[in-house]
Symmetry: C2
Subunit: 357 residues, 2 copies
């Protein structure tokens, strides 16, 4: 089988969804993409592992990166794809339709079609987005080929329900600890119960009202949550240690360092260890090229809550947004499905911008 | 080696401590005890596994059971025993000196010596007290030979610092659960955090003031404690479940069923599963035979907080107390040691009562 990029974006979606590419198994799909693009002389095609890059080199004054990942989370009896209808609306159903092969299909179709765009385009299709960050194809490419990441703007095709989602929240994990004194539970007053001492930690979390923060016109909703708790030695021992694992999702007006300071303040009086932190990304919608993109697509910008690879572009100083078909709530879902009309709408939106003079 | 019961109770303590008898390895010590007692025609000696019973059968109107366990917790470089002095006070140091071979030694000496006590005596030395209750030699004997458990009073030689400790608290374990709704932690407001919902459980525990309850003149101190807590699925998931493991030590004015009802009331609004419960034991000090014992020994009665085998006697309708040499706080301790004077004091106390006319 070969991949025919002259098909409709719906048919390309169907074709690439039916090629199994759970993280770690992207080779075959990467081969198909590389072969299909090879037929288009306006593109310079590069390969790095199972990540494929295709660039126009037209000497334009501006360049945009448009990227998508080609792996999916594990299949759960939801392949091959099926055409279904819900309340009269046609959908393509199956693993990867939302996250994010419909987005990739639109990108592939336009990569083949747009031989003379007004701005240079670097298309990137990468592997291992759904697994550990150390395997992420985009991150590995950026580390090896920073020259490919010189651009004025970036668009990631993650599902946004056809909206434009700017930037993303940062994320930080911390361990909040209490200590006490062990004792036999028959003489509990001899000890000091570390689990009881965690009560104020949980109270602060339960009473916490997350901020909503406007950044460049978009309102980001934060979240501060316990994602784990553990303590206890045996059924007859007063425990001397308790740990609450906390995840703070913070708006991109804060750096990870500021977020850490904030979390330490919320849990003042307790031992706080920051275990993990990643900066968010400012939406970058104040850049003129971003404004042109918004105007051409005719969509409204929204904030992205989850951390996505746009933060990698942001960290490189490249304003970046998410724009793709599919409801993000259905990503990873067994009933993952994308409205056919949304695939076409995103195709039209990107084409409108990339064809404008 | 044979065990000579004409030695002093201190020398018998030293002799039997130096016979290794960690739970499961009591056979040799049981053999020595059985052989030593065989020389005394006033005793009928029975054996059940590694539990030795020796009875007088003098046709007295009352009978007392006097019992002690012959196993110890594991040795940790604290055998053989040594004679030591702390601040001028002589001690016997080593594993088992407190818990509870000094008590067993006193019992063995008096079993051999008291050929004509005013009340019949059933002496019991049993195995496997320090491990799972299903192995407990006293419990197994009671199940197989209930006829041996017909008595008016029972004394257990567990360490009480030479005091008389009546009855014991009951103990109950419960799981107190919360539930919630899972969600990605980037959109935490879609979920409901079960760990946050556990805040009131910990608050109630932290604020809980344990009762002190007078039962037959003794004041029992209760305790309600978290002994474990767990919750959490992954670092980016709002957890839908949290469990707090609670241990309630309750005074013997309550049955285990009443204690369960009480715990359910304390944690009203949460799911409470009772996982384990054991009745306490009333001190039984209002019985005339117990009053005579107190008077003869000349000691004051105190409450016992921990659950001990006296509760087994109590469950069979036999008032029971603990009375033995050694500080219970040093039981299981690597520096386990018994004051020599306390061994002799307990010997004198028991002899005074069991020789009175």
């Amino acid at each position: 089988m070969a991949l025919d990029l002259r098909l409709s974006s719906l048919d390309i979606t169907r074709a690439i969804c039916d090629v199994y590419s759970v993280s770690g198994s992207e080779r075959h799909l990467a081969d198909l993409i590389e072969d299909a693009l090879g037929a288009y002389p306006h593109l310079r095609v590069l390969r790095h592992g199972n990540t494929i890059v295709a660039r126009t080199e037209l000497g334009r004054s501006q360049r945009v990166v448009i990227a998508g990942h080609i792996d999916t989370v594990p299949v759960n009896a939801n392949l091959p794809t099926r055409d279904i209808e819900i309340d009269g609306t046609p959908y393509l159903w199956g693993r990867g339709t939302v996250d994010m092969k419909a987005g990739v299909a639109v990108q592939l179709k336009l990569a083949a079609e747009l031989t003379d765009p007004p701005i240079d385009i670097t298309w990137m299709w990468y592997d291992n987005e759904e697994v550990d960050a150390s395997l992420n194809g985009l991150a590995l490419l950026a580390a090896q080929h920073p020259e490919l990441f010189v651009a004025d703007f970036a668009i990631l095709g993650e599902p946004t329900d056809g909206q434009i989602e700017g930037g993303c929240n940062g994320t930080l994990r911390a361990s909040v600890r209490t200590s006490g004194v062990r004792a036999h539970s028959a003489r509990s007053w001899v000890g000091e119960n570390a689990i009881h001492r965690a009560a104020p930690i949980l109270m602060r979390l339960a009473e916490y009202r997350a901020r909503e923060v406007a950044v460049e016109g978009l309102v980001y909703r934060e979240g501060l949550n316990a994602v784990g708790i553990s303590g206890g030695i045996a059924g007859n021992v007063i425990p001397d240690s308790c740990v609450v694992e906390v995840n703070y999702r913070f708006a991109p007006d804060k750096t990870a360092a500021e977020a850490a300071e904030y979390v330490r303040k919320v849990f003042a009086g307790f031992t706080v260890d920051i275990t993990d932190a990643a900066d968010g990304a400012r939406p970058g919608l104040d850049a003129p090229i971003a404004q042109q993109f918004l105007a051409a697509v005719g969509a409204t910008a929204h904030p992205k809550y989850g951390w996505t690879d746009v933060a990698r572009f942001s960290a490189l100083g490249i304003p970046a947004v998410n724009y793709g078909p599919g409801d993000p709530h259905l990503a990873h879902h067994d009933e993952e499905r994308v409205p056919v009309a949304q695939i076409l709408a995103v195709e039209e939106g990107l084409r409108a911008w990339l064809s404008a003079r």
